[in-house]
Structure formats: structure tokens, C-alpha cells
């Protein structure tokens, strides 16, 4: 089921990059997608449910907003003359609520893409995500911000 879904996604990507949504091209895209999926069949990701499109869009919206905002923030930080005094970098252990690899990865990447924070590693027991932040005035506040933001949305999408 999920394979079919992924194949369809890839086929759509195909149609998008070729700029042609005609039937033959979608079919060609589908076969290309199947070829590609054959290659990665062993490491197939666990079932992905993308039915919750609305929530997904909401996640994407949040991400874009965060992206723009924090890009701006980081820019300001970089350009400020007394940058060093504003910096307070640190690596914190973020306790994960999400459990699956896909969720963890998604969360980690979203965190990384958001300026100001950067995922360094996941602990071996997958309980913690180590996050580097440009400024950690308050560790708990940061954890809460992430947990309430991306993590919650991700859980919504995947549950």
C-alpha cells in the first residue's frame, strides 16, 4: 500500500519535473518510480500515512513560517556588531516523544532547517535528540518550544 503511495508520489514528482501531466508521461513516471523503489526495497520506510493532508499542510505552513522568521533572526544576529555578546550557543538533549525513525528524522530535519537550531545526533536508544542552538538562554524554554511546535504537529500528522 505504502509502496504504491510512494510510487505515486514519485510519479507526480516526475510529472512535475518533466512538466507534463499527460497520461503517458505519468505512466512513464510510474515505471521510473517503480525502478527506483526496487533499488531501495530493503530499507523501505515503515508505513506512511499521508491522509492527514490538512495537518500536513499545517505542518508545512508552520515550517515555512519558522524558516522565514528564524532566517531573519539569524541574519540579524550575524550582522549585529556585538554579535558575540548575543551568542550563547549550547548543545542540549531534547527528550523525544516521537518514536518512529521517520518521525524522528522529520523532526530532526525540521529543527535543522529552522535557523538557530541544529540537530547533531540521536541517542542510541532514540530517547534524546541532541540539538545545537545558537543561543540557549533557557534550556527548558527551548525544549518546550520545539515540543509544542514541530513535534506536536508531527505527531498529529502521523497518528
Amino acid at each position: 500500500m505504502s509502496r504504491v503511495a510512494l510510487a505515486i508520489v514519485l510519479a507526480i514528482i516526475w510529472a512535475a519535473i518533466t512538466g507534463n501531466f499527460s497520461a503517458p508521461n505519468l505512466l512513464l513516471g510510474g515505471s521510473v518510480a517503480i525502478l527506483a523503489l526496487l533499488l531501495i526495497r530493503k530499507e523501505f520506510a515503515p508505513p506512511v500515512y499521508l491522509q492527514k493532508i490538512k495537518r500536513s499542510i499545517s505542518l508545512a505552513g508552520l515550517f515555512l513560517y519558522e524558516l522565514a522568521l528564524s532566517a531573519y533572526r539569524v541574519s540579524v544576529l550575524i550582522l549585529s556588531p556585538n554579535m558575540k555578546s548575543k551568542l550563547k550557543p549550547g548543545i542540549i538533549a531534547f527528550p523525544l516523544s516521537v518514536t518512529s525513525d521517520v518521525e524522528i528524522t522529520l523532526l530532526a530535519n525540521l529543527i535543522t532547517l529552522t535557523p538557530g537550531t541544529l540537530s547533531v545526533d540521536v541517542s542510541e536508544d532514540r530517547k534524546f535528540l541532541y540539538v545545537h542552538a545558537l543561543s540557549v538562554p533557557n534550556k527548558k524554554a527551548l525544549i518546550k518550544e520545539i515540543a509544542d511546535g514541530f513535534e506536536t504537529k508531527i505527531i498529529e500528522v502521523f497518528k
Binding site: L6, L10, I13, W14, I17, T18, S22, A23, P24, G29, V32, A33, L35, A36, L37, L38, L39, I40, R41, K42, E43, F44, A45, D101, V102, I104, T105, A108, N109, S119, D121, V122, R126
Partner: protein, 140 residues
């Protein structure tokens, strides 16, 4: 390099890169791209995949020995050149055919077959080298 994050996202990236490489291959005749560039992208996909999930797994997934794929590429490229023998044209003369498919026509041509050969030669070779080197590191 076996981190959860990388392991999880690498297959998806690989799949996208392979799809994209085929796209680049097929449109090369009219836009930038072609067999060589496509092949390089696909080889990159294999390299990434190998780094993420280990060479053994990639080899199993590929099923064919990469060098054999490269050989296959050279073989069909030569074969594409030979097809014009039947039409009493010199070696490597382009032959074009159009198969009607719905309202559009699908173009089939020996230059395209040739380019596919190029693609395979490149994927096979670069993939083989990358995998072999990764293996060096992994095994020893």
C-alpha cells in the same frame, strides 16, 4: 555513518535521485543532460545509499554487479550503432521510430538507446568504484 536520521532519509533521497537521473537522461537530447550526467547522478545515489545503509545491502539491492552494468552499457551502446547495418547505413547512424500512444507519440531512436548505454556505463563504473572503496573502509 549509520545514524538514524541519515539511514531514514537516504533511501528516499536515493529514490528521488534515481528518478531525477532518468529524467536527466531522457531529456538530454533536447535540454542539458544526457546519459553521462544522468549516470553521474545515479552513481551519486548509489554512493549515498552505500554510505547510509552499508555496501552489502546496496549490492543485494542492485542485484547486478555494477561492473556488469557498465559492460552492459557499452554493449548496448555498440549495439545501437550496429542497428543501422540492417538499413545499409554506416555505423552509428541514427534511426528514429514513433510509436503512437494515445494522442501522443512515443519516440524511439538509436541515439536514445545509445545514451542509455552511456548511462549504464557511467552508473556501473562509478557505482562500482564507490562501493568498492566504501567496502574497503567497512570491512577492514
Amino acid at each position: 555513518m549509520k545514524t538514524v536520521i541519515f539511514k531514514t532519509i537516504a533511501p528516499a533521497l536515493t529514490a528521488i535521485m534515481v528518478v531525477f537521473s532518468i529524467f536527466v537522461l531522457l531529456r538530454g537530447h533536447n535540454e542539458p543532460g544526457g546519459g553521462f550526467i544522468g549516470g553521474l547522478i545515479a552513481a551519486s545515489a548509489i554512493a549515498i545509499y552505500g554510505i547510509a545503509v552499508g555496501v552489502e545491502n546496496v549490492r543485494k539491492a542492485l542485484k547486478f554487479d555494477p561492473i556488469s552494468m557498465a559492460g552492459f552499457g557499452v554493449f548496448i551502446a555498440s549495439f545501437a550503432g550496429l542497428l543501422s547495418l540492417g538499413q545499409s547505413f554506416p555505423f552509428l547512424t541514427g534511426l528514429w521510430g514513433y510509436i503512437p500512444f494515445g494522442e501522443t507519440k512515443i519516440t524511439v531512436s538509436t541515439p536514445m538507446l545509445f545514451d542509455i548505454g552511456v548511462y549504464f556505463a557511467v552508473v556501473g563504473t562509478i557505482g562500482a568504484v564507490a562501493l568498492a572503496l566504501e567496502e574497503e573502509d567497512d570491512d577492514k
